[in-house]
Amino acid sequence: MTSREPRFNQHVLIDTTPLPDHIPKVQEIGASSAPLLSASYFIGARCKAYNDDYMQCKTEANGRGELDCMREGRKVTRCAASVLEDINNSCLTYFRKHWECLENNNQQLWQCRRFEGKLNNCVFEKLGLEKKIPGAPENEVQVHLRKRQIFADSIRDQIPWPEAVEKARDERDFGKAQ
């Protein structure tokens, strides 16, 4: 990209012309950043093919990706919406706890591994989706499964605590039923 002078902008234009009718309409995803981050690995697990298609289309389109790749984009949106709907229907409490924790912690995944573990178990049981970090070396434990989270802020989130303490904390957070 050629460099150009930075220019500040004060004005904003909102174009409310809808898309033409020959383009099929797909509802946009209504989840905001924290729930999307929380569900991102499950979306990746189910929608890997569509996402890879879309990314390949955009790379090969040489700048015309926004216009040429709308078909692949619609598939991506529909697949992600299906994952979100399934998570909402089956694991809503764990999902909510996880993204509320993320939102409180600057959206850093390593601060909220307690809630993430519960969410991963629930989603694996009910939906069969497993979180795998792409590109992780095969011979090491993946970071979200490690016992010690060395970057977490408080010691409470860093180390695994004895069974009784964990149970008491889970009961306080999730209620008696779980």
């Binding site: 220019r7 209504g30 905001s32 729930p35 600057n106």
Partner: protein
Amino acid sequence: MGVPFETLLPYAIMMFGITGGALTKVKNMQNGGKRPRHSIDAWDRQMMERDRRLTGWLRGQTDNVKAPAGFELNNPWKVEPLIQ
């Protein structure tokens, strides 16, 4: 002789403590009851702008599957003055 510095230490500690507590409370209120975000990069800024378009608040969050009507049309284009 003047006032020895040891007598002013408790006041300094209290001042720092009260200021810290008050600032935390103010930041909490400004961020909708959550801790404020730090080290925000371009990705985070874009996502927070999307959150504001979705919910109306910068730190608002929803986990609806479908966006409210009109969400796909309220994306702002940044308009620059003409380069003459």
